[in-house]
Amino acid sequence: MSELKNRMLSEGEARLRELFVRGLAGDAAVYQASLQELSTHLRAFLRRRLSSLPDDVEDLVQEILLAIHNQRHTYDADQPLTAWVHAIARYKLVDLLRSRSRREAMNEPLDDHAELFTDSETEVADARRDLTGLLAQLPDNQRLPIVHMRLAGLSVTETARATGLSESAVKVGVHRGLKALALLIRSKHEH
């Protein structure tokens, strides 16, 4: 498990930590850049750990990024970012492996059918689990802000106008929607 640590240390823990902390303080562009950089570390880390499940790597990268974002209030600036991210990655990795072994132990034949059509070559570079599909399960007050802002690229003000929600409702909708998304992913693991 120390590869991630070494990798991030060599890339400059201090610099990435500074980016992340500035991002948490409200600089959205810097926050995005820090997540981007974290995602490359996570991908490399998970490719090595999940060599037997290569199709799961990108799904898990996304799940960990979502966890990092949703749990960002548990990060203190005086703590090494590496240790914090590593603990989250490890937790989610163990969770995935556990749910995989449970599913294989149950030998659930339905899973094979469900995965039949998603198993195409064009999706190799993409995540296997489509978060857009999961988004459809969220209530409107969470789904609409996310869809408008992210997928259509509107600003908070434009989204508020398009959805008829207030600007703060748009912000809260995105915030709660991301938490709900993480819960949906988790409940998928358990079934």
Partner: protein
């Protein structure tokens, strides 16, 4: 949705996070747990009738200091185990020290007592109810602490659940000391410890299921 889309989506969630929000949440949980425990103690058990004279005895304060010391160690463990990647450091020693101290006092008390007095020091008059009462008084804090821990990100769920359980148990025991008439260190070292171990065990059992995220 590819990963870059997701990252843009995450960056668009601009709801500010309060730094060190866990401090405020745990302070509230402990406050609520304390108020709940005191209310339960007053309603169900009552203060010990001789409290006014008991507070003049050193043993009363030992009985109070023992769970309070454990509470400090358990609080440290709880806040560290609530967030990813924090080392536990010497937390185990901080938790073990008060227990060892009370056991040393217990051995001294037993060695200084006649064989006839020894069983009274160990069993007291209330051993049948002490552990259950400590557990009962720990429940408000237990619920509040789990509630808070669920909003944070523990990664060692069994250990985190046990730490929160011990913290609740220590708080329950500290409040129970205001009712409990027992004054022997052997009694404390056995029955108070069992009383605190019940919520600890409960926390370890339900942690993995309840604290997942």
């Amino acid at each position: 949705m590819n990963t870059d889309d997701l990252i843009r989506l995450l960056a668009s969630d601009t709801v500010a996070v309060e730094p060190r929000v866990w401090r405020r949440r745990y302070a509230l949980a402990l406050g609520a747990g304390l108020v709940g425990a005191i209310a339960l103690m007053l309603m169900v058990l009552g203060l010990r009738p001789d409290l006014g004279t008991a507070v003049l005895l050193p043993m009363f304060w030992v009985k109070f200091a023992f769970p309070v010391a454990l509470l400090a160690g358990a609080l440290l463990a709880t806040v560290r185990l609530s967030r990813p990647g924090l080392p536990l450091g010497r937390v185990a020693a901080a938790i073990a020290a008060p227990v060892l101290a009370i056991w040393v006092l217990a051995v001294i008390a037993l060695l200084g007592a006649s064989p006839a007095e020894r069983s009274a020091l160990i069993w007291g008059n209330t051993w049948t109810t002490c552990p259950a009462n400590v557990t009962m008084l720990s429940m408000p804090a237990f619920i509040a602490l789990f509630w808070v821990m669920k909003t944070l990100a523990p990664t060692q769920l069994r250990l985190a659940g046990a730490a929160a359980g011990l913290l609740a148990g220590a708080l329950g025991a500290a409040v129970y000391a205001l009712h409990c008439p027992e004054m022997g260190a052997p009694f404390l070292g056995l029955w108070y410890v069992i009383g605190m171990l019940i919520p600890t065990t409960l926390g370890a059992l339900i942690g993995p299921r309840l604290l997942r995220w």
